[in-house]
C-alpha cells in the first residue's frame, strides 16, 4: 500500500471517528512486537467495493474500543449498551469509513459498496496480521484499531 493511500485512509478514518464517535486516531508506523500482542475479544468487520475500482477491507476492533465508540455513538451509559449494538456499530463504522474513502478514490461513483458484515471473535490475536502488506494500525484510548485493506 503506497504512502498516499495510507495518508488518505488516515484522514478519512479520523474524520469518521472524530465526527461520529468523538474518538481520536493516531497512526502507528510500526507494529508492536509479538510479545506485546495479547489475545482477546475482538470484533471483525468486513466490507468490499467493486465497479470502476475494487477493494476489500477488514477492521479489527478490540472489544473495549467497539464498546466505547458505541457508547459515544448512541449517547448512552456503558451499562446500557448491548453486544448486538456493538457489532452493529462496528459494521456501520466500516461502512462509513470505506464509503467516505471510496468517495475520494472514486469521485465518479462507478464503484458500489457491498453490505458490511461484522462478527465477534472471542479469542483473537492480531499477530496473524503482522505480515499483511495492506496493514494499517491506529492507536486509540481503548486499544489499537487494526485494518487490513487492498485497493486496485
Amino acid at each position: 500500500m503506497d504512502e498516499d493511500l495510507r495518508r488518505i485512509i488516515f484522514e478519512t478514518f479520523s474524520e469518521v471517528f472524530e465526527t461520529m464517535f468523538f474518538t481520536f486516531l493516531e497512526p502507528l508506523e510500526e507494529a508492536p512486537g509479538k510479545e506485546e500482542l495479547g489475545r482477546g475479544r475482538f470484533i471483525e468487520a468486513k466490507i468490499s467495493y467493486s465497479g470502476g475500482c475494487k477493494g476489500d477491507f477488514l477492521f479489527y476492533f478490540p472489544w473495549e474500543l467497539g464498546k466505547n465508540i458505541t457508547v459515544n455513538f448512541l449517547g448512552v451509559d456503558e451499562d446500557e449498551v448491548l453486544d448486538g449494538q456493538i457489532t452493529d456499530t462496528a459494521a456501520e463504522t466500516a461502512n462509513m469509513a470505506i464509503g467516505s474513502l471510496l468517495g475520494k478514490l472514486d469521485p465518479g461513483g462507478k464503484a458500489s459498496l457491498a453490505i458490511p458484515q461484522a462478527r465477534v471473535l472471542a479469542d483473537f490475536s492480531p499477530e496473524t496480521m503482522l505480515d499483511e502488506v495492506g496493514l494499517c494500525m491506529f492507536n486509540t484510548e481503548f486499544g489499537t484499531l487494526w485494518v487490513v485493506g487492498t485497493h486496485e
Binding site: E15, V16, L74, S100, L102, G103, D106, G108, G109, L113
Partner: protein, 145 residues
C-alpha cells in the same frame, strides 16, 4: 404541526442515532417509524401517514435508490420528500438521485446541525405546499437542492 418521520437504514444503531439527532434538533415529531430496507419502508408507507423519509442508500434486499424510484413512480408517495443520509454521496450518484426527485442528502459522517438544516428546509417546503393547498403543483415541482 408535528411530522411523522420514516427512518430507513439497515443499521439499528444508526436508526437510533438519527432519531435522537432529529429529536434534539427541535423539529416537531409526531411519530417515528423505522424500516431496515426499501421493502420494509414501502410496507410502512402503504399503511401509515409519513411526512418525510430519511433513508440510507446501501441496504440489503432493496437499497435506497430503488426505494426512491418506487416512491417517485407512485402518484401519492412521490409527494413525500425523501432525504438520503448516506456514505454514497458521489456527484454521479447524487445526480441520479436528483433526477428521481430526491429532496436532499446528508453525507455520513454527519454533524447533527447538517441534518437539522436540511430537514428544516425540506419540511418547510412541504408545509408551504400544504398551506397552498395545491398538491398537484407541489408533486410536479422540481427540487432545487
Amino acid at each position: 404541526m408535528a411530522f411523522n418521520i420514516l427512518v430507513t437504514d439497515d443499521s439499528e444503531t444508526m436508526r437510533a442515532v438519527i432519531k435522537k439527532t432529529v429529536s434534539m434538533s427541535g423539529v416537531p415529531v409526531g411519530e417515528f417509524h423505522e424500516a431496515a430496507n426499501g421493502k420494509e419502508a414501502l410496507a410502512v408507507l402503504a399503511g401509515t401517514w409519513i411526512d418525510v423519509i430519511l433513508s440510507d442508500i446501501n441496504m440489503p434486499e432493496m437499497g435506497g435508490m430503488e426505494l426512491l424510484k418506487k416512491v417517485s413512480e407512485d402518484e401519492d408517495l412521490r409527494k413525500i420528500p425523501l432525504i438520503f443520509i448516506t456514505t454514497e454521496a458521489s456527484d454521479a450518484r447524487m445526480e441520479e438521485a436528483r433526477k428521481l426527485g430526491v429532496a436532499g442528502y446528508v453525507k455520513k459522517p454527519f454533524q447533527p446541525e447538517t441534518i437539522k438544516a436540511i430537514l428544516y428546509e425540506v419540511l418547510e417546503k412541504a408545509y408551504a405546499h400544504r398551506l397552498a393547498d395545491k398538491p398537484e403543483e407541489a408533486a410536479g415541482e422540481e427540487s432545487d437542492f
